[in-house]
């Protein structure tokens, strides 16, 4: 059985093992005991609420209870850009028109911006290859939305997720080659490494300050603005189903899209419901539909947040969870849990 839960002090080795599987391309999960240890300590302090909300970094792990192995990890940062500037390009529109010449030209422009400063961020999602089956990816990714729905007061108005941008077969970034390289004079992967070390803001200093017309970039760079790395497309779809949208912000290096949403407009906020775990002798089970859609269900405890997928459905405010499921959630009959259908209703 798999459970997604708040990370614990004892998870450092498991986290390191996971991070060792990550490979290049994920800048926030490096297999470095010092970095991971620091991050774990911050996460524990976050769940314990001993640091202010904007400094928190909620780290969740997916545990296989059969062997107590960590199968995946994901995180929510309380706020970005409050210690180091957080840069993006924002895509705007400028219209150049002349009635005399009857020319009306709509030009897209890139503005270097710190607009997303202070937003909460979904990040560091990684699922061990052995577990990339069934609903596991969804379970891991969506656990964060249920957490936010349960504790919305911990988050700012806006939540974002940075998506890895398009890369060519050889790992190069056409956007970087067309723009950044002229200003950094170093390789994309070198820039990527510096970013991993938290040097993103220093690199951004080298970016041109003035708005740029996208039409002045080479065609192949223009083509990938807002496009994700092909391995990231499924993750993007998952987040979009939860109510996140690409609103014209992209990464300054690879032009990968930033997805964003108002917290209050996330599907989890609109559609998740509280339910009581029904006693065995209730009729909940009998009244429930014969076949149901899988449902995400979590407990309502911040410090020991836990979430699973169940086949049970919430009926009139009650849900019939098996003893094993209650055990996974660290809950008993009569406790309040939060439920959300795993999948978006098709007719919406």
């Amino acid at each position: 059985m798999l459970v997604v839960r708040a990370i614990h002090e004892g998870d450092l080795d498991g986290l390191f093992n996971l991070a060792s599987q990550v490979g290049t391309g994920m800048t926030t999960l490096k297999a470095d005991m010092k970095m991971l240890g620091d991050r774990l300590a911050t996460a524990c302090a976050s769940f314990a609420e001993t640091i202010p909300p904007e400094e928190r970094d909620y780290l969740f792990v997916m545990e296989d209870t059969a062997n107590h192995r960590l199968a995946g990890v994901c995180a929510i940062k309380g706020a970005v850009g409050l210690t180091e500037p957080f840069y993006n390009y924002r895509i705007g529109t400028l219209v150049h028109s002349s009635r005399e010449l009857n020319v009306f030209t709509k030009m897209e422009t890139l503005y270097l911006s710190n607009d997303l400063t202070g937003s909460s961020e979904l990040c560091s999602l990684f699922l061990h290859p052995d577990y990339r089956v069934g609903h596991n990816g969804k379970l891991l990714s969506k656990s964060r939305f249920l957490f936010i729905a349960q504790f919305p007061h911990l988050f700012t108005e806006k939540i974002i997720a940075e998506m890895r941008g398009y890369q060519a077969e050889d790992g190069s970034s056409p956007f970087y080659e067309g723009l950044g390289r002229h200003f950094f004079k170093m390789d994309f992967h070198h820039v990527d490494d510096l970013t991993a070390l938290g040097k993103k803001s220093f690199i951004a200093e080298l970016m041109p300050r003035q708005p740029l017309y996208i039409a002045y970039l080479p065609q192949d760079a223009q083509d990938v603005v807002g496009a994700v790395h092909k391995s990231t497309a499924p993750a993007r779809r998952l987040l979009e189903q939860e109510g996140m949208h690409y609103e014209g912000y992209v990464d300054i290096f690879d032009a990968g899209p930033v997805l964003q949403a108002r917290v209050s407009e996330l599907r989890a906020l609109r559609d998740s419901e509280l339910a009581i775990i029904a006693p065995d002798d209730d009729m909940v089970h009998a009244c429930a539909p014969a076949t149901t859609e899988p449902t995400l269900v979590s407990n309502t405890t911040l410090r020991d947040f836990r979430m699973i997928i169940t086949e049970a459905a919430s009926v009139n405010g009650s849900i019939d969870l098996s003893a094993a499921e209650q055990q996974l959630l660290h809950c008993a009959t009569g406790a309040t849990v939060r439920t959300l259908p795993l999948n978006v209703k098709k007719n919406q």
């Binding site: 002349s98 030209t105 002229h182 040097k199 080479p218």
Partner: protein, 343 residues
């Protein structure tokens, strides 16, 4: 013998023939008879005008072969560029990129649409017939405008510029235009130049041209390569003007990326080294030392005349010896003042 003098009404047919042979381009003589007539009339009116503040005046000079009574060159100067609007150009900015933490410091060029050349005096329409391009007459013609300006400072600004035609290919395509202006204008270079009539003062430039700097490294290689480069036809003018003291790196044309040379008058040799000398009748003294080509002009506005003569170094002299026939051409007599500058 050649003389440079203000254009006259009688020159119009000769200018028409000249216009027929000059290459296509926007910085040379107007092409239609109507426009030539207008330019001549405007020059005559400007010469005759009492001017306190430079404005819409423009002055057109011709190079005439006295033997053949033939016009073999033209050169003009506008008192104040964009006086009926704004003169737009690209300023070639250098932007420093500095990161202390990464120990990186380099500079990036960016082109910014600007109107800084507005109210400069604007040299244009320089054309010299092939047969006199090698001689000192070409330099005389180019410089006569500045001699005139030096003698009439209230008619002109303190700064001068000269746009030179940029690089186009045989099909009339401009690599710079294709990379920059075309994205906004959505038309070919020659169509755009025709539409705008070669002007650089039109509101539609503000409407259509980029509001933000164009970062040069982002431009295609062929566009970067022609930035600030002159059309081969402009080489003579370019050499004469840089020798005069004009500088080429700061501004380029917004359409074809050609260089715009500019200078404060204090940096121009005509202004800093010309001497006002008394006329003495005689041939050039052949005292010690070699002979140099000097441009010599009279000081009369309406009947401005300039010639070039070989002459010993005039440094430290207070008079210049001119033979009677030169005095006649310049319409001066013994004891009058002339302005001399070494070519």
């Amino acid at each position: 013998m050649y003389v440079v003098r203000p254009v006259e009404t009688a020159d119009i047919p000769a200018l028409e023939s000249l216009a027929a042979v000059t290459m296509p381009g926007v910085h040379t003589l107007p092409r239609s008879r109507d426009k030539i007539v207008m330019a001549v009339e405007r020059s005559l009116a400007s010469m005759a005008a009492q001017v306190d503040i430079p404005s819409e005046e423009s002055y057109l000079f011709v190079l005439e072969s006295l033997e053949e009574r033939r016009i073999c060159g033209t050169a003009a100067i506008f008192a104040s560029a964009g006086s009926n609007g704004t003169y737009f150009s690209f300023r070639n900015d250098v932007i420093q990129q500095v990161s202390r933490d990464l120990n990186i410091c380099h500079s990036v060029h960016a082109l910014t649409l600007c109107s800084e050349l507005t109210a400069y005096s604007h040299l244009s329409s320089f054309y010299v017939a092939p047969e006199v391009q090698q001689g000192p007459e070409a330099a005389l013609l180019s410089r006569s405008r500045l001699l005139y300006a030096a003698q009439h400072p209230r008619r002109f600004g303190d700064r001068f510029f000269v746009p030179l035609a940029g690089v186009t290919d045989d099909a009339g395509q401009s690599p710079f235009w294709n990379a920059v202006g075309r994205k906004f204008f959505k038309m070919d270079f020659l169509d755009a130049e025709r539409t705008i009539g070669g002007a650089r003062n039109r509101t539609l430039i503000v409407e259509l041209m980029p509001h933000y700097p164009v970062y040069v490294p982002l431009l295609p290689g062929d566009a970067q390569a022609v930035m600030g480069q002159i059309h081969p036809s402009g080489e003579l003018a370019f050499n004469l003007l840089t020798a005069e003291g004009f500088e080429a790196d700061e501004y380029i044309d917004i359409f074809d990326g050609g260089p715009i040379l500019q200078a404060h008058k204090h940096a121009l040799r005509t202004f800093t080294t010309s001497q006002k000398l008394r006329v003495r009748t005689g041939v050039a003294r052949t005292r010690e030392g070699p002979l140099f080509n000097y441009a010599v002009s009279n000081a009369d506005s309406a009947a401005f005349r300039a010639v070039t003569i070989p002459c010993p170094d005039l440094d430290g002299c207070d008079a210049v010896a001119l033979p009677p026939e030169i005095q006649d051409i310049l319409r001066v007599a013994e004891g009058d003042s002339v302005t001399c500058v070494r070519i």
